[in-house]
């Protein structure tokens, strides 16, 4: 055979394998508003950067006449490429081939590209669109999932792992995304659940749609399983590209430094955004935008547990992770969900050398039987654990209220913040003036002729004495009380001076965070 014929043979083989499930199946995929697996990869990666591997892998099913079937690429596309010049390993399940079902060879392709990602220290992006395990392959399909989960865990904290849910992801399959760092969902397309509507119908006789059970909105708002929510696949890919610009390739690198840009101070003025009365609400994201580069803030978990805000921004060109209480929602209290949300983000930043800036304005923890019985103690402890354990530069800014356990939890000096600053409006106290006065002066108030007047007087007295940053500053728990207008300069200085920070934990196999 001449080279020309060999080449045309290669072309023919490539074409057949790359066609996926064929016209009919592709039509079906498009009809529900979904791109094909190949289109997705090509849209996400830089033009001409995608290089595919294992195109000619064939499935391993022997039973139930599976050996007579040809499944192109065994329903998954794997390869390497770049996103804005960043190298990435990527795989995309192809729903048009046997419903993207996971068989032994399919899993083998995924685990192979995962091994490459780990060996080469580059991020891994997985696009999930699969009906689940290929039942005909029995335990081999289960083995495949297990191998993927194991590698997700190995890679955790070494390379960033991103899961994109662009179709069904049901049953055991959901645990791969759950083990990764960021999960992206798209409205009406993503569906995630352990047991689907059919099982629920059989067991309970209850009718619930896939969308209401495990649609994109549910995971973005209620469960917190998804970190980013988009209206369309295109928007989703733009979000991924944006996220990739903020994070480093692996845990030995820092994120790429950008040119420094001033915030849009005409649009975001601290003086206008910030109310000084402790009970008045405001949007803390506007404070972040008032101090960060270009006022650009990429919020993570925007709709889930909105009483705490987390996300990435740049200060003087360098990526920073922001954690801020949100007085706009539930007065900015810490509760089960917000603790989970913050703790995981803190650990991500610590794993990938991203400094943390914490903005504090919280009245404390959310009271309630549901919270206590839901385990707010062990969930709340995660925040303390994550902050204490984090060895990246940690800068804390107390804006207004920092009461009680919340003050300690929000990266106080006691949890080894490198710098703690406070605005003059800060109130650092064991609890709010109203509550404190009621307890300390309980008898005086009770025995007074005019209890209400005495209560008011005592609250005022307590406020004047303790509702300020100077008591804490006198003990050195606050490093500096600063003019809000100097915030950006102070933060940038603190970050640049702690850029080479080295801190370690005692030698151990691993700690025991309150999972």
């Amino acid at each position: 055979m001449s080279l020309t014929r060999k080449l045309s043979d290669l072309k023919k083989r490539t074409k057949t394998a790359a066609e996926g499930g064929g016209e009919e199946a592709i039509k079906k995929q498009k009809a529900v508003g979904k791109m094909t697996a190949r289109e997705r990869i090509l849209t996400l990666l830089d033009p001409d950067s995608f290089h595919e591997y294992d195109l000619f892998v064939e499935h391993a099913g022997k039973d139930f006449d599976m050996d007579k079937k040809y499944l192109p690429g065994d329903g998954v596309i794997t390869g390497t490429g770049t996103i804005s010049g960043h190298p990435v390993c990527v795989y995309a399940q192809d729903f048009t081939v046997a419903g993207g079902s996971l068989g032994w060879a399919h899993a083998k392709k995924i685990t192979k590209i995962m091994d490459v990602a780990l060996r080469l220290n580059v991020p891994l992006i997985g696009i999930n669109d699969s009906g689940g395990a290929r039942i005909q392959e029995g335990v081999n399909a289960l083995a495949g999932y297990g191998e993927i989960f194991y590698r997700n865990t190995l890679a955790s904290g070494v390379i960033p792992q991103i899961s994109v849910i662009l179709g069904p992801c049901a049953g055991g399959a959901v645990y791969s995304p759950a083990l990764t760092d960021f999960v992206f969902v798209v409205d009406k397309i993503s569906k995630m659940f352990i047991t689907g509507p059919e099982v629920i119908k059989t067991v309970l006789g209850e009718d619930i749609s896939m969308e209401d059970l495990g649609g994109a909105r549910v995971h973005a708002e209620i469960t917190g399983n998804a970190h980013f929510y988009a209206e369309s696949e295109q928007e989703c890919f733009d979000q991924i590209k944006q996220l990739c610009s903020y994070i480093p390739w692996n845990n030995t690198n820092k994120a790429v430094r950008f040119q420094s840009h001033k915030p849009l101070t005409k649009k975001y003025k601290i003086n206008e955004v910030f109310p000084t009365l402790p009970r008045q609400p405001y949007d803390v994201r506007n404070i972040i935008r008032a101090v960060c580069d270009d006022s650009e803030f990429l919020e993570v978990h925007e709709k889930f547990a909105a009483n705490i805000v987390i996300g990435f921004a740049r200060m003087d060109g360098c990526t920073v992770g922001f954690v801020a209480n949100q007085p706009l929602v539930l007065a900015g209290v810490l509760d089960i969900d917000s603790s989970d949300k913050a703790a995981r983000f803190i650990r991500f930043c610590d794993s990938f050398n991203i400094p943390l800036i914490t903005m504090v304005d919280l009245p404390g923890y959310l009271p309630g039987v549901d919270q206590e019985h839901g385990g707010v103690i062990r969930h709340g402890a995660k925040v303390l654990y994550a902050y204490s354990e984090a060895t990246v530069p940690k800068i804390t800014l107390i804006l207004r209220k920092a009461y009680g356990g919340g003050y300690i939890a929000m990266c106080s000096h006691h949890l080894r913040a490198d710098f703690v600053f406070a605005w003059p409006t800060a109130e650092i106290a064991v609890m709010g003036p109203e509550g404190a006065a009621n307890i300390i002066f309980r008898n005086e108030i009770k025995n007074a002729e005019n209890p209400e007047e005495v209560r008011k007087h005592k609250i005022k007295e307590y406020k004047e004495k303790f509702a300020n940053p100077y008591v804490a500053a006198a003990y050195g728990y606050i490093d500096a009380v600063i003019d809000p207008n100097d915030t950006r300069d102070m933060l940038i200085h603190a970050l640049s001076i702690s850029a080479d920070k080295t801190a370690g934990m005692p030698k151990k196999k691993h700690g025991l965070p309150p999972f």
């Binding site: 309970l204 909105a306 209290v333 307890i439």
Partner: protein, 161 residues
Amino acid sequence: MKTDSKKTEKKNNVKSGDVEKTKRKHSKKTISSLPGFGTLPLEGLSYQTVLTTKFVNREKYKPKSNNEVYSLIPGTIKKILISPDDVVKKGDVLCILNAMKMDNSICAATDGIIKSINVKIGETINKNTLLINMESLTEDGNKSHDHDEEEQLDLETNVIF
């Protein structure tokens, strides 16, 4: 559930629009017009803030008594081993609930008399369904979950966060 999520959807659509407005004006008035805006009382102070749907819909606590037998898992009633007015002992099997491919024995939590049986054989039931009402013959049936006599925290000596 369906109506709930629709509500949420509507709420959020309006909310994001309003947040945009807030960004522009930063006035207190716009913030207080956000859907779900209300007050949250904490330690003697009422905070003005947005109350999330999850918070508003949180399950209110209901104390449970040993006289009421609830299902802890969804399933199908396979057998009922008692009838009204039967006297049972603590630990006696009252009925068999087939759930998760297992026959689960539902036992009496206290000695007592069966008052009513609220399910039939073959019935599919959800979690937390009231299966059987009993009348306890011992103190613990009525008292074990009684909150009236619970010790009050002495706030003078116990300073809490």
